[in-house]
Amino acid sequence: MNAAGLMHESRPASPSLHLFRSAEGDHLFLPDGSRLYDIDAATRDVLADPAGHVEQALARLGLNPHAAAPMDAVQDPPIRSLSLAVSQACNLSCGYCYAQGGSFGAPARQMSWPVAEQAIRTLFAEAPVGSRVVVAFLGGEPLIHRGLIRQATTFAAELSEHTGVRVGFSLTSNGTLVREDDGEFFERHGFAVTISMDGTPERHNQLRVFADGRPTYRRIEENIAPLLRMQKRMQISARVTVTPENLNLRASLDHLLGLGFHSAGFAPMLASPSGRLQLEPRHFETMLEQMTGCGGEFVRRTVARERYAFSNLTEALRQLHRGAHRPYPCGAGASYLGVSASGDFTACHRFVEDPLGAMGSLASGLDRDRQNLWLRERHVDTQEPCRACWARYLCGGGCHHEVLHRGRVACDYIRGWLQYCLLTYVKLQREAPWYFGSHV
């Protein structure tokens, strides 16, 4: 099915269910609990009848439309993950960056050790023995402040040993400053490293440039090559920000996986501060076409038992198989919070210096009232047009930062992609059933 077809077939008809057809037959998807069923044609006709009473029809099939626990707004969630904006400055100047050159539109800043220490202590303070917390390093370009990353990591690892709270680390970097000894450090601490790269060398250089305009590809490639070779415990993934300038996703994906990344995936640029380089509605069909092209290659390789780590699809398949369902797009403002260089809590790393996502500070404590208000207001069941959409508990309503700054412009694309993922899930269950035994 082409992109236009996917978008058409996935348009919202009922908030209670979604019907679709694959080569295997007819399928029913229930948003509540993200449950997926095979149904016969007669059942499909009953459920598809716009005049029918959906809940009664489901009940006759023995299906409770509300099988999952009620998706109430989360309240007072424990903090399990903090991202530290260790450096609110960047040596790159990408036209689309949400952080506007790394400083979030504010004066460039670096996090001090007392702030980092207090953030980590806060994270560990409430975590029970045996639970896992995550410390993420972001910026700006975090490696500008390498010393703090190392100090904070070592400190957190020691706290972990003493408290029995397990800790994971992640870092998102532009790759221009990373050194071989960083790799050894990341490997020792099992970092999940994400390198932002925008595809093939030409495209990348067009989009991701040093502050003085020089291209960055060559430097990144040289820097990360030894890291890619040494990754055992650490995982180095590539993330491509998709703009109208780099829509040839298949070429990007093949290129990045060929470099040796553990996985690679795409994030559409939906809201750039300047409005430049963001995707417009006319681009989404191309984007979806490209994504499904990558998906086709993933299926082909997987059936042949080859690895092809297209992370958008592997993650979607995992979620669909498990029936993941959630009323938020991510943990932002809930168990995941950002900490700015000056020690303010923010809903996530993107809301640094942004009053929309302010949630108190390390000094004054997490502002639980603001947080709970956020969690009530951002709940997908309160959002429009989400409330009427079958995909709401898969999508969660879309990135808070993008929605608050640009609205929901990509719904057709997101649904089309989910439709493709559902079809691929069904297809792989037939052609590579082993995949769901160990990979998802």
């Binding site: 229930l30 609990g33 149904i39 029995g164 029936g323 269950q429 160990s438």
Partner: protein, 580 residues
């Protein structure tokens, strides 16, 4: 089935007809030590018609203000009106007499504490006191005496009240009847027992019994000695501190933090103070960790990554791979490890070193490296066994017969060229790397396993391949143990105090050792050929001879190494001698 659930949440939400598994006897959590599904003492509480007793043990820590002498068979109450032994319209005189007595006694027995004083049957009377001062037997003892009563013979009992001081009041109540028949001829319990009576005294809540039930008594329904989940892990999930991770700890330990995981002690009494207590387990039983393969797992269990391996396209491709890669790699590794072992000082040589622990560490390290080298030799045999197994099942290419593959290779997968090196930290690290879970050696047989599980291959070869495939993990942990032991001595850099100064000798210097080594290879070749032909007995004799030679090689190698000479195992053989 329509609709048919497909993903996990859909499957979980689908009701399945039939009794849930937790209603089956075999899935129950036994409510006492397994085998005791109810408390047999419940039966004897009603041994005498019309009266319900409680068997009371003496309190361990009696409160000074409580009544004295509480132990024994105390009358709970008279319960005669619905007793099937005592029908109101019975013509039996003893029943009518007893009913009359009980009716008059009801209030009396509710006043104060009444106890079983004595029982009398067949002219014998047993008093329920352990001495002449009137110290009563414990409830358990009374119960045992009551259990000795016979059926169908007149039974007289005496009940007596005890005052606060525990002394007997003067006037007993004497009743005569028969001991109850607990089971009918059909094996059904007597109707006098009320629902819940048999289990009423069982462990309540169940967690208390769950806590106490342990392997020292019976096959327990929970783990006892386990390995804790490592707080820090290496790639592949190995503990960063393998020694710490391999000390058994008590599953019931109250403090599950890193500092609480002291080693489990050999005696129950030594572990008891650190275990969850009854009041604690009620609160935290849900947090007791699951144990998989002897190790506690965290909140989410991630099974080890299944190696995705494609089967070989044909038996021939697999055979070539076994011949050209696996078997040669195994021998090459065995020799590298052996060479490295010889480079270690003997414990005697390390005596007088400033490190007191060094002789002990060397003794252990030499044994460990030797063990791993021997393991690789075993793998070489298994690789050959796969080959001759395939040959015997007619899976060899036409016209080809099984030939033993006993040779080295100059290339190890994903490693630099094979070389004989002393066991300095760099070499040791390379050994760790090569044996690492998910590494080159660990996954060497993955495609063999994937192939041999296909139809058309003999099942036992598949099992053998799985066995080789899963055998390597030990090697990794063992080398890491050596690393840990040697870390203490590596600070100063080369020369490392635990190493002999050793170089690869010339063929002339090591002539005898080389000759012995080659004779071992010859013997193995003969033995494998015999095995392939099905002559296990002859093969066994030849293997035994090879083993003797291996012992000799060990002595020769160690002597040479003391003189600074390593055996140049990779020396090409001058000319192939005729096989016997």
């Amino acid at each position: 089935m329509n609709p048919r659930p497909r993903n996990l949440t859909a499957r979980a939400a689908s009701p399945i007809a039939g009794n849930p598994v937790n209603t089956l006897l075999e899935t129950s959590v036994a409510n006492c030590f397994p085998g005791l599904e109810f408390d047999v003492r419940s039966l004897d509480r009603r041994f005498f018609p019309g009266i319900l007793f409680d068997f009371i043990p003496a309190p361990w820590y009696p409160d000074p203000d409580t009544p004295n002498n509480q132990q024994g068979a105390r009358v709970a109450y008279a319960d005669y009106q619905l007793d099937p032994m005592l029908p109101e319209d019975s013509p039996e005189p003893w029943i009518q007499t007893l009913l009359g007595q009980l009716a008059g006694l009801q209030t009396q027995l509710q006043t104060g504490r009444w106890y079983l004083d004595w029982v009398e049957q067949c002219g014998k009377r047993i008093e329920m006191y352990q001495d002449t001062n009137g110290l009563p037997y414990d409830g358990t003892m009374v119960w045992r005496l009551v259990r000795g009563l016979e059926l169908d013979k007149p039974l007289t009992i005496s009940l007596v009240q005890r005052n606060h001081a525990g002394e007997r009041e003067k006037v007993p109540v004497i009743l005569t009847g028969y001991r109850r028949r607990y089971l009918s001829a059909n094996g059904v319990f007597d109707d006098a027992y009320q629902p819940g009576e048999f289990t009423g005294s069982m462990c309540v809540p169940w967690t208390h019994d769950f806590r106490d039930c342990a392997c020292h008594y019976w096959a327990a329904n929970h783990p006892d000695a386990v390995f804790a989940q490592p707080t820090a892990e290496e790639p592949g999930g190995e503990a960063r501190d393998p020694v710490q991770a391999n000390i058994p700890v008590d599953w019931l330990r109250a403090d599950c933090g890193p500092s609480g995981a002291g080693p489990m002690q050999p005696l129950i009494s030594e572990n008891r103070p650190y275990q969850l207590d009854h009041y604690q387990i009620n609160q935290v039983w849900e947090q007791l960790p699951f144990v998989v393969e002897g190790r506690e797992i965290g909140a989410t269990y991630s099974p080890p990554m299944e190696t995705i391996a494609a089967p070989y396209p044909s038996p021939e491709v697999m055979i070539r791979e076994l011949q050209n890669v696996m078997a040669p790699v195994e021998l090459t590794l065995a020799l590298q490890y052996l060479y490295a072992m010889f480079s270690l000082k003997s414990p005697e040589e390390a005596k007088g070193s400033p490190w007191e622990s060094m002789p002990g560490d060397l003794l252990a390290a030499r044994q460990i490296v030797m063990l791993v080298a021997a393991g690789e030799m075993t793998h070489m045999r298994w690789a050959n066994q796969l080959l001759w197994g395939l040959w015997r099942h007619g899976l060899y290419p036409k016209g080809e017969t099984y030939q033993p593959v006993i040779r080295t290779t100059s290339e190890l997968p994903k490693q630099r060229a094979s070389a004989l090196r002393p066991l300095d930290p760099e070499t040791l690290e390379s050994f760790v790397r090569i044996e690492r879970p998910g590494g080159a050696i660990d996954t060497l047989y993955a495609r063999c396993v994937a192939t041999l599980q296909l139809p058309g291959y003999p099942r036992h070869l598949y099992e053998l391949a799985v066995h080789i495939d899963s055998d390597g993990i030990e090697h990794y942990s063992r080398f890491r143990e050596v690393q840990r032991a040697f870390a203490a001595y590596s600070g100063s850099g080369a020369p490392f105090p635990y190493l002999r100064t050793i170089r690869e000798g010339t063929p002339g210097e090591a002539a005898e050792a080389l000759e012995t080594y080659w004779r071992i290879l010859d013997d193995l070749a003969v033995a494998y050929t015999e095995e392939a032909a099905g002559n296990s007995r002859q093969a066994g004799a030849t293997i035994a001879r090879a083993r003797t030679l291996m012992n000799k090689l060990f002595e020769l190698g160690d002597e040479l190494a003391k003189r600074g000479i390593g055996i140049p195992f990779f020396t090409p053989r001058p000319a192939t001698p005729a096989r016997p």
